[in-house]
Amino acid sequence: MSPRKLWSVAWKELIQSARDPLSLGMLLGVPCMMLLLYGYALSFDVRHIRLAVQDNDKSVASRDLIASFVNSTYFDLVATPPPGTDLEKLTARRTAKAVLVIPERTAENLAAGRTAQVQLLLDGSDSNMAATILGYANALVAAANVTRLTEAGGKIALAPIDFEPRVWYNPDLDSTHFLVPGLIGFILMLTAVLSTALSVVREKERGTMEQIRVTSLKPGELIVGKTLPYLGISLSATVLILLAARFLFGVAVTGSYLHLFAATLIYLIGALGFGLLISSMVDTQAMAFQAGSLASMLPAIFLSGFIFPLRSMPWPLQWISYAVPARYFNVVLRGVILKGAGLESYPRDVGFLLLYATVVLVLAYVRLSRKEV
């Protein structure tokens, strides 16, 4: 392998991508945009729940209960439908997410020492949100009951258990903290796989691959030369994400930068190799995009533990996830960036990333050289 030839292929590829500032800008700018999006806009936290209240009792007790819902800051009172309203229309039209119905004679029942039922009607189409709302409502009603008991007096000491939650590494459970590593893994996979695959297939599609074939380039030189620029671009994107995370969201790397760099490099080499492998199997850019996004983007989002927890998936998917490099990269990155751990804490994960990179590169090399020599 001659370094001079290698360099000229890499240089050509770099010039080609520099001529396309739009794509280059996207490769570098998009990761930051996604971080901003995640950091500022997206969260699963449930607040400002649109609540409608139908108070058929209009007593002190019913007003107290409504006040405790509104004062909890989780609920926004949006409507007070009069008796006889079609309550389902309220949720079907998405005016309200939940409707609290307090029946007549609630206060009377309570005063007489009976159990008084209040109804909570929920829009379950967003299951996640509905479960959270149900949790809030149950807690509010339980708190109201404990207050009633204590106010009833008596010398009996009532001792509910004090619960003290503590969170390590990310005390405010700030989602940007956990998104930064996941996002790096996802973006690197996406850009590395797609841009290498597309750049090789582009030459096939335009017929310039034949021109390269008649030069004295060895397949290895072509492969390495073609991937080098994207390695550089992807690493720059990583640096940009880290900088944005540091200065916009205060997420600093607590572990060693050397370990971070090493892990990223191994992961990237695997991803680039995968892009090459795809390029050896397809003939058009549209196809390369389809295959690349399906085989890299989808697993990197859904089977890596990035957003959805792996442990709650059915076992066939858990098994598949063992072949997804982003899964291991996520563990290592979270460790190095957030917990200040070193690579030595994750021998299994680093080992797998190495194995993946080797297997994929060998496969890509075999396929590409068979075609070209």
């Binding site: 396309d20 794509s23 998009v30 999006l37 995640y38 699963f44 449930v46 607040r47 400002h48 007489a112 020492g113 009976r114 008084a116 039922q117 209040v118 109804q119 909570l120 829009d123 379950g124 189409s125 967003d126 299951s127 996640n128 409502a137 009603v141 109201a144 404990v146 008991l149 010398k155 009996i156 000491a157 001792a159 258990i161 619960f163 003290e164 939650p165 969170v167 590494y169 990310n170 459970l173 989602s175 590593p181 841009s195 003939d283 850019q285 549209a286 196809m287 995009f289 389809q290 295959a291 989808l298 957003i307 927890p309 442990r311 709650s312 059915p314 998917l317 979270r334 957030l338 917990k339």
Partner: protein
């Protein structure tokens, strides 16, 4: 008309020529649906829990039993003191540590509120947040039971019963709160965006790249005929995907289709107007397929999916993002999908969303056609 038909026929042939393309447009969505359907589940269970029980009394064991019996937690180990739990959390072997202090049983017996501590690995803020929520539920459940156990005694001492509120929840549309029912219809929106926004824009740009777009101009075809001819095959494939995915969603994932399928088809046409228009618009802005792909995926698809409420609730976003999301067609299509599938909603409920799609679609298509014509002239 004749010319238009032959243009459409040519486009179909072109699509068929790339032999891997049609399977990719059909098989791809199916794989996507299956992965997403099974993977997109935010319900957290089997959270690995490490236990530090310094009390070891029947009272503390009752609390631990509540944890192991809940199904949310798997007990993976125990430690003598809270000082030694760190390796469990650093290496990710456990996500939450439960610490019961040595005074737990004693405090309870004396009527003092005992303290229970849970330490969570915050790096996965999402599932840790949920996990801590479960811990708090379990602990307060135990607390409520202990308090309730004293109710008869209390009522006896004050000489009269104390009334109690009971919350009776009723969950509409998805009574078992399956998150799959929420996410699976979302796949339709993603697949349709892929097939009717990204692929057509790449197809148009490909003609630019190869230079065959010029050849189309010298034919007697009008610009709108070229556009219609180019886009029709993708509409057809998109509609095929719609039928296929609806079949899988209801058959494999057992998500109910409570509304009318015809309405779904009709409103999907409106949605396709927006995606095709955007795809066409992109193709007039870029020069290469790679640019088209990048632009569609990064600048359009990803932000649109995230800000549309398909995955993350819009209510939680800052005000500015909420305003921005009103111009995102997927937002309205998400309402339509969930309305028709889960709520059985009809046009009487969904008309504002349909209207919004119509307005956005017309605007985008007009703009795209104008730009396209300009690039042809």
């Amino acid at each position: 008309m004749q010319a238009l038909l032959s243009m459409i026929r040519k486009e179909f042939q072109q699509l068929r020529q790339d032999r891997k393309m049609i399977p990719a447009m059909i098989v791809g969505p199916v794989i996507q649906l299956i992965v997403l359907g099974f993977a997109a589940n935010l319900d957290v269970n089997h959270i690995p829990l490490v236990l530090v029980d310094q009390d070891r009394t029947p009272a503390s064991r009752a609390l631990v039993d509540r944890f192991t019996g809940s199904g949310y937690f798997d007990l993976v180990g125990s430690e003598e003191t809270a000082q030694t739990i760190e390796p469990w959390l650093v290496e990710g072997k456990a996500q939450i540590a439960l610490v019961i202090p040595s005074s737990y049983g004693e405090d309870l017996a004396a009527g003092r509120p005992p303290k229970v501590q849970a330490i969570a690995d915050g790096t996965d803020s999402n599932s840790s947040g949920l996990g801590l929520g479960y811990v708090s539920q379990i602990v307060s459940g135990e607390g409520a039971e202990l308090v309730a156990a004293k109710r008869p005694l209390l009522e006896k001492t004050i000489g009269k019963p104390v009334g109690e509120l009971e919350l009776v929840p009723r969950v509409w549309y998805n009574p078992d709160l399956r998150s799959r029912w929420f996410y699976v219809p979302a796949v339709l929106a993603m697949v349709l965006m892929l097939v009717t926004m990204i692929l057509p824009s790449m197809a148009v740009v490909k003609e630019k790249e190869i230079g065959t777009l010029e050849q189309l101009i010298v034919t007697p075809l009008r610009p709108w005929q070229i556009i219609l001819g180019k886009l029709t095959p993708f509409v057809v494939v998109g509609m095929l995907d719609l039928c296929l995915i609806t079949g899988l969603v209801t058959g494999l994932f057992k998500v109910p289709l409570r509304g009318s399928f015809l309405l779904l088809v009709a409103l999907t046409f409106l949605f396709l107007m927006t995606t095709l228009g955007l795809g066409l618009l992109v193709s007039s802005l870029v020069r290469t397929q790679q640019q088209a792909m990048g632009f569609c995926v990064y600048v359009l698809m990803v932000p649109m999916i995230y800000l549309s409420g398909l995955i993350f609730p819009i209510e939680n976003m800052p005000h500015g993002f909420q305003v921005a999301s009103t111009v995102i067609p997927v937002r309205y299509y998400a309402n339509i999908l969930r309305g028709i599938f889960l709520k059985g909603a009809g046009i009487d409920v969904l008309w504002p969303d349909a209207l919004a799609l119509l307005i956005i679609g017309t605007t985008v298509l007009t703009l795209a056609s104008l730009r396209f014509r300009k690039s042809l002239d």
